[in-house]
């Protein structure tokens, strides 16, 4: 059953509605300025963190939408059919390692994975690529090395992050991607509208522009909503709350995974934050670095809109034990 917008939302927008919205925005701006909202520390902190998350993420969303539109319009079906015929045990690690070649944050990999799956790549492989690329890409690994070099564990943290990230991507892809594409992907009204445009003999340039915009606007609004939630949580919850459980490896790792979910940091910067948690064991810091790029508040909304119901719950059910076990094992290995 295809879920589409309700009849009310599909009604054409009228002039008075547009004028009303513009007036509301103007009222908010003028009222906020006159009311001194900018002098309230919590409001300042929220706006700054919220805007910075969106400003940093939107170009990557656009990049992801661009690659997604290129795949949709310019890559022939037979290329995906060829990949799809490969045995899954070969497809899965190959797709996960493909993250090395796609140096964008997690926001950019979601539309690409969605497109790959809808074009015929095995869902497990598409998910493995989506979950691996924000961890395995060269920029992320280089920033991890720089962040931890001063503590003399740069190489170990890079290996640990890449290894556990790869393992998690393959495990989650295999466990969740068993469903067919139709059972995994949420259908969008725009997909229905554009159905067949690739083959209808219309202009490829027009189809490319349409797909690019559809993906950007679809993903963009969830990045905005997710950014708002992350900023709200950052403004209201002190990070020092988790410090009390720092010395217990299991609880410490769980606490930092929870914090990673709340903070919704870009994977290219999270190592600089993780290294500041000096009171936590290295294994717990690794849990923060592997769990965060895969599941966070911002991504939860994006996943919820891209995949069918319970995807986020299933992903957490796989990620939590894998990351916890991996981080504890890492702690045993690197402990001096």
């Amino acid at each position: 059953m295809i879920r589409t917008e309700s009849a009310g939302l599909r009604r054409p927008a009228t002039g008075p509605l547009m004028v009303g919205l513009a007036a509301l925005a103007a009222l908010l701006v003028v009222g906020g300025r006159l009311g001194g909202v900018g002098r309230i520390p919590a409001a300042e902190t929220f706006v700054l963190i919220f805007t910075s998350i969106v400003v940093e993420a939107l170009p990557f969303v656009l990049l992801g939408a661009l690659v997604s539109a290129l795949i949709e319009v310019y890559v022939p079906d037979k290329a995906f059919a060829r990949v799809g015929r490969l045995p899954l045990p070969l497809q899965l690690p190959a797709a996960a390692l493909g993250g090395f070649a796609f140096p964008v944050c997690e926001c950019g990999s979601v539309p690409v994975a969605r497109r790959l799956i809808s074009r015929g790549m095995h869902p497990a492989s598409g998910l493995a690529f989506m979950l691996a690329s924000p961890i395995l890409n060269p920029i992320v690994l280089a920033s991890t090395l720089i962040a931890y070099r001063g503590r003399g564990v740069g190489g170990a943290m890079v290996l640990g992050r890449a290894g556990l990230g790869l393992l998690l991507a393959i495990a989650a892809g295999w466990a969740i991607g068993g469903d067919g594409a139709k059972d995994l992907l949420r259908v969008r009204p725009s997909d229905v509208d554009l159905n067949g445009s690739r083959h209808a003999g219309g202009s490829r340039g027009a189809a490319f522009g349409e797909h690019l915009a559809n993906d950007f606007f679809f993903m963009g609004r969830f990045v905005v909503l997710g950014g708002a939630i992350a900023a709200l949580l950052q403004t209201s919850i002190p990070q020092s709350l988790v410090s009390g459980v720092a010395q217990t490896p299991i609880v410490g790792a769980l606490a930092l995974m929870g914090l990673a979910f709340v903070l919704s940091l870009c994977s290219e910067a999270d190592a600089f934050v993780a290294v500041s948690f000096v009171q936590f064991p290295l294994g717990s810091q690794l849990a923060f670095l592997v769990f965060g790029p895969v599941v966070d508040a911002k991504l939860a909304l994006l996943y919820g809109a891209t995949f069918r119901r319970r995807f986020v719950v299933r992903l957490i059910a796989v990620a939590l034990p894998v990351v916890l076990a991996g981080s504890l094992w890492f702690e045993v290995v690197v402990r001096p």
């Binding site: 547009m18 805007t51 400003v55 661009l66 340039g205 522009g209 410090s243 000096v278």
Partner: protein, 231 residues
Amino acid sequence: MIDGRLARTAVLALWAAFFAYLWLTGEMTRYLGPRTYWVVPFGAFTLLAAAGIHLMTLRSGGGRKLSVGQVASLSVLLVPIVAVVMVPRAELGALAASRKATGGVGAAGYSAPPVTSGAEPSFIDVHFANESAEYGAKRGVVDGRPMELVGFVSQPSATPGTTFELSRFYVSCCAADAIPYSVMIDPAGVEGDFPVDTWLSVSGTLRQDTQGFTLEAQRIREVDEPQDPYL
């Protein structure tokens, strides 16, 4: 009735203009760290290009009228721009420092700073010198060293004339990953009221005791927030 694609082109162009504004005014330093400054000109050009590409699809015809659902979706995308117009020049201050402090100072063994400090020792160096005398000696953060720091008051004096905390954030990619670094300031007789979130330039001499380093002030003056508020 408005064409849906025209409205989407307008939103893309508006975002491109917002990125251009951040770039040309230098306001990007408020939201991003040096590692991601490139995102702003990149965003301005790519969003403008995307607006251009989308505008060209208008010529292919067959566009649908803007629906109420699309208006809601496009409005969500404009919320950050409205927020910045409503609260321009927002700052991370004492509240953010209290939320982002991990309580890890001196709680565990020495860990070198994740960033290369500049020529002159600053907040980050004092922070790590509190953890390691070896690091402090290497960076010249030692008892009796003259130092000047520019930061905001993150914890005011409990009573007039007593020590207060001066802080500044280090940002790697964006303000969401900001880490506060703080130094205790002893006004040492310098008179004045230093309320929370006030930007100050403090010159003085470092003093080391069992609590770590404190900057004993010889001169304290109120300054404007720097163009780049982060370390």
